[in-house]
Structures are given as C-alpha cells and as structure tokens.
Symmetry: C2
Subunit: 153 residues, 2 copies
Amino acid sequence: MITKKTKYAFKALIHLAGTPSGHPVLIADLAESENIPKKFLEFILLSLRKGGLLNSRVGKGGGYSLALPADKISVGSIIRILEGDFAPVQCLSTTNRTRCEECKDEETCGIRLTMADVHAVLTTTLGNLTLADMIERSEQARKKLRNVVDYCI
Amino acid sequence: MITKKTKYAFKALIHLAGTPSGHPVLIADLAESENIPKKFLEFILLSLRKGGLLNSRVGKGGGYSLALPADKISVGSIIRILEGDFAPVQCLSTTNRTRCEECKDEETCGIRLTMADVHAVLTTTLGNLTLADMIERSEQARKKLRNVVDYCI
DNA sequence: TTAACGTCTATAAAGTCTATAGACTAACCC
DNA sequence: GGGTTAGTCTATAGACTTTATAGACGTTAA
C-alpha cells in the first residue's frame, strides 16, 4: 500500500505536468489546490527535487516545475524516491539492501527466491508506467464520462 | 514491503509443509525451530487457521497442520490473510474497499486508474505462486549449492 | 481428573507516517 | 543594498501500526 506521502507526490506531479513549462508553481498554490498540508508538501517536493524529478527556483518568481517531460517520469521512480524502494523484502532492495535479520541463509531462502519474481514483475510494471500515463488515463476516463452524459441528454 | 508477521507465517507454513500429514506440530516447537516469538506466532497461526489455511487440534496430541496441500496455498492468500490486502491504494482493495479520503472523483482518478494495472499484475503473480513453489525453489538452490561444493572438492 | 495444548483479550514497547514550527538562505526588484 | 518573495533545512510532536508479551480460559486425550 503506497503511503499518503506518495499519493500527495503523484497529485503534485500531475498538477505540475498540467502547467505550461517555464511557469514555476508555488508550494502554497500547489498545497491549496491539491489539498495537501503545505509543510508536508514542502518536504515532498524537496525529496522529488533531490531525486531529480523537479526543478526549483528560489526567490520572487520562483517555484517548482518538472525537470523532465511527463512521459520520462516513471511511476516507479516516484515511489522509489518517496518510499525508498518497493522491494517486497529487505534483502531484495536495490537501494537499501541489507540482510533480513534472522534469515539464516539468504541464498537458499524460499521467501526471497519467490519474492524475487514479485519484485521483478513490480519493477517492470512500475518502470513502464509514467506520469503521462496517469494523466492520459484520467483524461480518457473524463472523456468517456462526458460522452455518457451527452448521450443521456 | 511485507511485514515480519507475514514472513513468520511463510516460515511456519514452510515448516508445516515439511512434516508428514497427520502429525500436528506444536506452537512451541514451531516457535523454537523457526526462531519466532511464541506468543506472536500463536496469533499468526490463529489467523491462518481462521483464513482456512491451517487445521488445529486442541488438547494433548494437538497442534497445527496444513489444511491444504502446499501447491494449493497461494502466496497471495497468505499475504491477504495477514496484511489484509495487497492493493497499492485503499480504493482498489478487494477486502477493505473504502474511498481514498480526499479523492474527489474516484472514477477519473489517474492514480487509481494506473495503480489498477499494478494491482492486477500483483494479483496474478501472487495468485500463481504457491507455498510449494517456495519450497521447491529453496530446495533447488540448496541442490545447486551442493553441486558447486562437490565440484570444488 | 489432570496435564497438554490451543484460544482469546488486553496491553506495552518500538517504530513509522503524517504534520507543524521556525530559523535560514537565495533570488529578484526597486 | 534593503525589502520582499520564495524555497531549504532541522527539529519535533501526535497519531497510527507493527511487534511482542502476559495471563486467564476452554478443550481434548489418556
């Protein structure tokens, strides 16, 4: 289950993707329009910037904007920045890899060997989905709904 | 990331799968041989029993045993019993489905629409992997290691 | 009827997630 | 260069979840 922090990040990124580039968005504006606690959002945006997904400009006329086009920002990279990783078990993590404390033999651990499959599938799926997909799917759903409404009228 | 509770469950189930059927295993023995806090394990085994994966017998000569053959126990069902679900977002949960608090429009939510893919992939993967797979992979890894060792000698 | 064994409720300890406060630094504009 | 705008950073508090323990109770076999 992804955390609220990550969901806030998705919302913020989707919002930023929808604003013309070169027009940085203020934390305060983003917080208000997406209903995210401002101070919490500050921290989230900072993480995303450090992760290379956002650019920021300090001072008047400053704010945040995407560092990459939306179709180059994978859902996986967003999750990795905010949750650290999405490995099902610690010993499979690519970023924080450590032993699973109490796993006697990592090499023959059935849990690990099985979860490796899950991890691989997740990595592929989350790596292929992008911010642009998120936006596109949302728009298509909106369009579909509108058509249904039109049809009803 | 699966919790310790679920990992303990995997270990316990693997252990139970390795004992001849009709021979119930004591919580205390299981706790000791798998290095799991006994009282915590009690609760885990109880959950697994209520989830239909284990049989138990109370009283002298009692204990726990698998309620199904190992190849009929999916990894997904184990996780579902202990973690409630593996949906990436609340609104996609099959067991505890509720709105995502603050999601204005579920039907056009890009996060939900995208995560639905992830959920589907996870459901398939975790549904196809079984306790028997876990055991088999562990054994194969052990065999492989032994061969390498033999070869070295 | 007694010893073996699982069941259940309550609760404590530790860790993580969510949120907030406030001081600080950088950039812009006059 | 001084005021204003805006992001940066550190610390910390509250709520919730995970992990673990204690103890009383119910059930079964011999």
